[in-house]
């Protein structure tokens, strides 16, 4: 009976994983290296988090130093057309004579900029709106909440398509702006309810009695208590930014001259790469999007497990308990 080993929540609060969630907001009292050490330990303790972190770090390195392994202009049409994979061209070339490997490597940059840009911006906007609504209450709450609900129910991808269709060939900044303005509502809703549950806690009453301004209370007192939810939301938003941006570029609504995985897919589709045997042209960029998306998804799932111990895989739990016994 596997069930008898089923976890019971609260007793697990002292595990190293859960300590991450507790350590981050309370970081003020500890030194920064101690917090970083805890973070590293938490990531290493969770296999999904380890995998996600490694993939993400590799992509970040590629985005910063693409010339280190793929020199030259990735869009230059200087090679033979539609070559198969070889040592000179690891993934072969496009129908225009561009090196696919170079395009794949250099394409990392734009995708990551969009992922982090739109992910951070929409999460920040959501924090601002969600927490402000909860804290200010009354008319503000009503108005902001209505706005959130409205945006929440309008189907996002069709809306993105319509906006991008009017804009015509959206570049990086436009994509980030559009994804940010349309993508904050779900996070805002979550943060609002979390902030609502805090509203009458003693430490906030104390701050109010001290005569702190609202903005101080929101930024210094409320937001740090929600760090783990904010990080999880950022990961989700970044994942969606990658998927949505690539999808828009794939259907030709991005800037067709930019170097990115979505644009590669657009040109592959336009040249019927699948039908003409140039498989790698379509396979490589899609696989890279999936890999980057998987990194965000894995980190997010790991975060979920950290926040909700009941979801953790069984084997991991026993290891954690053993370690705790050893330490105790």
């Amino acid at each position: 009976m596997a069930m008898m080993r089923a976890p019971v929540g609260p007793e697990d609060a002292g595990s190293p994983d859960a300590a991450l969630a507790a350590a981050l907001p309370a970081g003020g009292g500890r030194t920064r290296t101690a917090v970083l050490g805890r973070l590293v330990r938490a990531i290493r303790a969770n296999r999904k988090a380890t995998a996600g972190t490694i993939i993400l770090v590799v992509f970040v390195l590629l985005a910063i130093f693409p010339w280190a392994i793929a020199g030259g202009n990735p869009n230059a049409e200087v090679y033979g057309r539609s070559l198969g994979p070889s040592t000179a061209h690891l993934f072969g070339t496009t129908a225009y004579g561009q090196d696919l490997f170079a395009q794949a490597v250099w394409g990392t940059r734009q995708v990551l900029i969009i992922a982090f840009g739109a992910g951070l911006a929409s999460t920040a906007l959501a924090v601002l709106i969600g927490v402000a609504a909860a804290y200010l209450g009354g008319l503000w709450d009503g108005a902001l909440n209505l706005l959130t609900d409205l945006l929440l129910v309008i189907p996002l991808f069709p809306l993105l398509i319509v906006i991008a269709a009017y804009v015509h060939s959206s570049g990086t900044l436009v994509l980030i702006a559009v994804l940010t303005l349309t993508g904050w509502s779900y996070t805002a809703r979550q943060l609002r309810s979390q902030a609502l549950s805090l509203r009458h806690r003693d430490f906030l009453e104390a701050a109010r009695v001290r005569g702190e301004r609202s903005i101080y209370i929101i930024v210094v007192e409320i937001i740090p208590t929600m760090t783990s939810l904010i990080v999880a939301s950022f990961l989700t938003n970044a994942l969606y930014a990658v998927l949505f941006a690539s999808s828009l570029q794939f259907i030709g609504l991005g800037d067709p001259n930019s170097t990115s995985w979505g644009t590669m897919l657009y040109w592959a589709q336009n040249n019927e790469a699948l039908q003409t045997g140039q498989y790698l042209w379509a396979v490589v960029p899609g696989a890279l999007i999936a890999l980057l998306g998987a990194a965000f998804a894995l980190l997010n799932y790991a975060f979920d497990e950290i926040g909700n111990p009941a979801l953790r895989p069984m084997r991991r739990r026993r290891a954690v308990q053993r370690r705790r016994v050893r330490r105790g």
Binding site: L150, P155, A290
Partner: protein, 327 residues
């Protein structure tokens, strides 16, 4: 009753917001993109068609924004979305009506299948926690949730359509077949639906599995499940009548919502497979700057979602009394 009224009120408000968005978006863009489109089609359009386009996009009229807006609302309320430019001289409503059955058939059936299969798998994985199935499924579907689903479609085309030549992968039926309600044609349509349906199923089923599993894992830790166990009830009974029954509510409301997303939910799958549904039409409209068709399809997709949300809210209130009092 008050609850239902509030939900209906919200429904109307959102609908108005979507229509207003449709009105302002083209007017807000630098150099009103509709202007270029109109210039392109100027010689080809009849006076009547031109007039309805002017109302829809505010080109060539010298009315104030407010009176344009009132005009616009009137025209949309009467279902007049003008003439499609790409499928000229068909009316937009005609094009839209022709696309709806294809999407409902393909995406509707797939959504139901994904929900039933996914929920079932979720129940089993949660019940057999720690088993090999439970170790495998969640991580696999965490990763599949990150794969762009149109790319999965492309890979299916590559493997099953182009390499193995098992199944057709373009359009809803063979161009040589004559549409009609007869056996061979229906078989032809079904054959064309298999690949897009499979691609859609693979990419959507994970959410159902994970939500069901995670809710059920929490429910399994509840006291009443332990109580049922202590009473010595058979495992199957606990699994279905105690745990799954109480854990299924989030999945059910999610299902009601996803029915709303059927209409606009598989845009890129339809695009990749050239499947003549709503999403394919939307992208055709975008590609050919057929803004009247695009506006109408966006509104249709939004309305479908809004109706589904309204119905699922009311259904949740009926099924779970706690949600009623909470508001």
């Amino acid at each position: 009753m008050r609850f239902a009224l509030r939900r209906v009120g919200f429904f109307v408000l959102t609908l108005w917001a979507a229509v207003t968005l449709n009105f302002f978006l083209p007017r807000m863009m630098p150099g009103n993109p509709a202007l270029a489109m109109m210039a392109k089609f100027h010689g080809r359009l009849s006076g009547q068609a031109l007039k309805s386009l002017e109302v829809l996009f505010g080109v060539g009229t010298h009315q104030s924004l407010l009176s344009q807006y009132v005009h616009y609302l009137g025209q949309v309320a009467t279902g007049n979305f003008g003439t499609s430019l790409f499928f000229y001289p068909q009316a937009v409503s005609q094009v839209v009506l022709g696309a709806i059955p294809w999407t409902l058939g393909l995406v509707g059936v797939t959504t139901i299948l994904a929900f039933v299969l996914g929920t079932g798998l979720g129940i089993v994985t949660a019940w057999r926690r720690g088993s090999r199935l439970d170790g495998l499924l969640p991580p696999v579907f965490v990763i599949t949730s990150a794969i762009p689903y149109f790319w999965v479609g492309m890979m299916f085309i590559l493997i099953f359509g182009i390499r193995l030549k098992w199944l057709p992968y373009t359009f809803g039926y063979d161009p040589s077949a004559t549409p009609g309600l007869n056996g061979p044609f229906i078989a032809n349509v079904l054959e064309h639906a298999i690949l897009p349906a499979l691609a859609l199923l693979i990419t959507t089923i994970g959410t159902w599995i994970l939500t069901m599993r995670n809710t059920m894992v929490s429910v399994l830790a509840e006291d009443y499940v332990r109580m049922a166990r202590a009473k010595g009830l058979p495992g199957r009974r606990i699994m279905y009548d105690y745990a799954a029954r109480n854990a299924i509510l989030p999945n059910l409301t999610g299902f009601a919502m996803s029915l709303g997303f059927v209409v606009g939910g598989a845009i890129l799958i339809e695009y990749v497979f050239d499947y003549p549904g709503v999403g394919y039409m939307l992208l055709q409209a975008v590609e050919n700057e057929d803004y009247p068709l695009m506006q109408a399809l966006f509104l249709l997709i939004t309305v479908a979602v809004l109706v589904a949300i309204l119905l699922s809210d009311i259904a949740t209130a009926l099924l779970d009394p706690r949600t009623r009092s909470a508001r």
